[in-house]
């Protein structure tokens, strides 16, 4: 109905089924069309960066769990890499492999969640999410087996990993990796060619390659827009150059492309885990570091390719046992830089789908 209408403000969130946490959008709408959008965040702000200035380097690792609580392993890894770079700690080979295995498992878990909630945002009544949870559950079981926690793993340590996986871990992960490709094909069959999902996802929230780079987008957002950028290839940490895998790149830059990219990344991650398991060397899983690590004054910026993209940790040392400054470059927050570009002019359902394809984690936005 295109008749006389006047714009009104719609509050989406902080409690809303599709904001995935306490995240709020103030939307100025004209009928069903969005005229302006503004995000209101901070409901989950815990001031981690300030708290970290009072704790030792090792004590800060749990914060990185709780920033991006869907990708705790990646957060652990990025922070440990930064501190290792700052303090010049060497990491044993086995630890690197284990880190790769767990980071990739975490990526699979997180992408499953992201794709499930994306389809949920497109209107499915929980079913894809439940299927995606099936694999995520098994991965979280693996985490629990290894480090005792499922969500906030606190597994990586400066100089390695906290524990060697137990004996029963290996058959479990073997069977998981054997079954995963089959399961992914099942999802692809169910979802990729789904007529309704195509109708809802294609042409929604388009971001051009140029905009994506300029807007500091990272991860599946950037790759969905056609830019082949993956830190695992560009800046191989933890020996990622040893593994053979490919970067999926979208063709159109819309929400559906991001969905496809995530699905493909799960496949590639399975490949990486398989290779890492095959080549897992024996040896120590950790380097001994002093209890109170006191790196020389200086700074380090280390980044890993988390599930949501470039997860950077900027750590400044003044020679003390606590970081002088600790900053998390949060991909969830920065991926929202182009929210206005995606949402303005779109209809409300499209904007919700576009927001779902960004895959935000509010713990990481607010920190």
């Amino acid at each position: 109905m295109t008749a006389a209408t006047e714009p009104y403000v719609l509050n989406i969130g902080p409690q809303h089924p599709s904001t995935h946490g306490v995240f709020r959008l103030r939307v100025v709408m004209d009928g069903e069309r969005i005229q302006d959008v503004e995000m209101v965040v901070g409901y989950l702000h815990r001031s981690m960066e300030k708290l970290a200035e009072e704790r030792t380097y090792t004590q800060n690792i749990p914060f990185t769990d709780r920033a991006d609580y869907l990708a705790a392993m990646s957060g652990n890894l990025g922070y440990c890499l930064a501190v290792e770079r700052l303090a010049g700690v060497e990491v044993p080979e086995r630890a690197s492999y284990l880190r790769v295995i767990f980071a990739e498992l975490q990526r699979i878990a997180s992408h499953s969640m992201a794709n499930g909630t994306f389809v949920n945002d497109a209107g499915a009544w929980q079913t894809p999410l439940m299927y995606m949870f099936r694999e995520r559950e098994r991965i979280l079981d693996l985490f629990e087996m290894t480090c005792g926690a499922r969500l906030t793993t606190n597994y990586m340590r400066i100089g390695g990993v906290a524990f060697d996986p137990p004996e029963e871990f290996y058959p479990a992960i073997e069977s998981l990796v054997d079954e995963l490709p089959e399961r992914i094909e099942e999802y692809a069959e169910l979802l990729v060619d789904n007529e309704i999902l195509l109708a809802r996802g294609r042409g929604v929230g388009i971001i051009s390659a140029e905009d994506a780079i300029n807007g500091s987008l990272v991860g599946p957002m950037l790759r969905g827009s056609g830019v082949p950028w993956d830190l695992r290839k560009a800046e191989p940490y933890c020996g990622y150059d040893r593994f053979d895998f490919e970067i999926p790149v979208g063709r159109q830059g819309d929400a559906y492309d991001r969905f496809l990219v995530r699905l493909e990344e799960v496949r590639q991650s399975t490949k990486i885990i398989r290779q890492a398991l095959d080549g897992l060397p024996s040896g120590p899983h950790k380097t001994q570091i002093p209890l109170a690590l006191r790196p020389d004054p200086g700074e380090a910026y280390a980044r890993v390719e988390g599930p949501r993209g470039e997860l950077g940790f900027y750590v400044v040392s003044d020679g003390g046992s606590a970081p002088f400054r600790f900053h998390i470059r949060a991909p969830s927050l920065i991926n929202l830089s182009l929210l206005r570009e995606m949402a303005i002019g779109a209809s409300l359902p499209d904007a919700i789908v576009a927001l779902g394809s960004v895959d935000i984690v509010v713990g990481e936005i607010d920190r």
Binding site: N120, G123, I196, L348, P349, I352
Partner: protein, 476 residues
Amino acid sequence: MSALRMGRRLPRRTVPRALMALGALVAIGFVAVNVAIGYVVIDGRLDGQWYDVRDLGIGVQELREWLDDRNAQQPGILDFLGQHWISYAVTALLGATGILSIVGGALLILIWVERRLIGRMQIRRGPNRVGPYGLLQPIADAVKLIQKEVLMPRGADKVLFFLPPALIFIPMIVAWGPIPWGAQMAYLDVHVGILFLIAVSSLTTLAIFMAGWSSNNHYALLGAMRTIAMMISYEIPLSIALLSVVLLSGSMQLSTIVEWQSTHNVWLAALLPLAMFTYFFSSTAELNRTPNDIAEAESEIVAGFHTEYSGMKFGLFYAVELGNALFVAALTATLFLGGWSLFGLEEWIPGYLILGAKISAAYFLLVWLRGTLPRFRLDQLMKFAWQFLIPLSLLNLLIVAVEASVFARWEVKGIVSLGLFAIVNWAAAIILVREWARRMGYRPEREAVRQPILTQGVGGLQAARRLGAPEMGTQV
């Protein structure tokens, strides 16, 4: 370090053997008794002496006659109310109680059924804690809902806010009136049954609008607007689809339509595939169920028009939603699946059981849709209604009209003419849908399934251009 937890499953609760045996025994006994009575009745030995348990309608008929007799013999003080007032009152009470209890009981069970079914579809268990197999879950839910505080938002229109939950219940219950449950078992067998149903269900629109408008909430208003837009759009193809049923069977009375199907030994679903599809799809739109649940799109507008309702007021909306879904299943079963008839088997099995089975089947389809599909967008649905369903159902109506007039004039066995119609209608449905979809620009074979490009190298804009990522958008 935890134990091996891979492949861990919830312990499967097994049905006690004794219970299963008992259930089987009861079922077999029920069928046996029914068959025996049916045999005796058909045999003629009990005819006219005792009413047939397979048809409660006969029993009620006899009750009425007996009451009228008594009334005529013994004049009472209330006779100024008319000659048949006792039988009117008694049958009205009986029928109303029957409908209310059947629909109410079905609603209670359906909540459980739907949640269990969807749980199964979503590889989880569904409610299984309250009572055996979680069967008491709906009651627990109801108790919880009743206990909850009823909130009214500030700035809400008081009267209009409190009316809709009750108001919306009326069409849902009244619509059950004309459904025939057996040969003589229709509570309100009006001659203009289908028109009556359409009219009654159109009353829902206003209640929904009242709920959405009076809530003083943007989500609710958006939901109400969406509902109204959907209902207006989808009422047209729905009515046209029902009209083709009326044309072919020559009556708007539901019992006559079922009898028509029964005498010609055919289900209208076989004769009118396009009408049935149109009806079913439009109904999902009117019901706000996936894939057309845009009016209550949870991920977009939270709960649509009943966002602000809490406690049992919400419970009423929820119950009405389920009840309407059940009603659509019932109407589908009645109009397109032969109602209470089952190719002569209704002589042996009570009609209401046949109808119940058919309703369950149709309802399962609705649950299946809900458990499977994502949601369309409002404009896509509108486009589908106006550009696809309405023209197609009009063309279908034209074909059916020709067939109906042929059927009325052609002196040939039903199996010939109706078989011919079935072939023509199926062919027409397939061709129409296919060609119209192509005219609308739907060509799936031309678009390859999109797959991401796989690459080994990294790079920025130049690499993106090399890979062939198109220049999407401009510098915004």
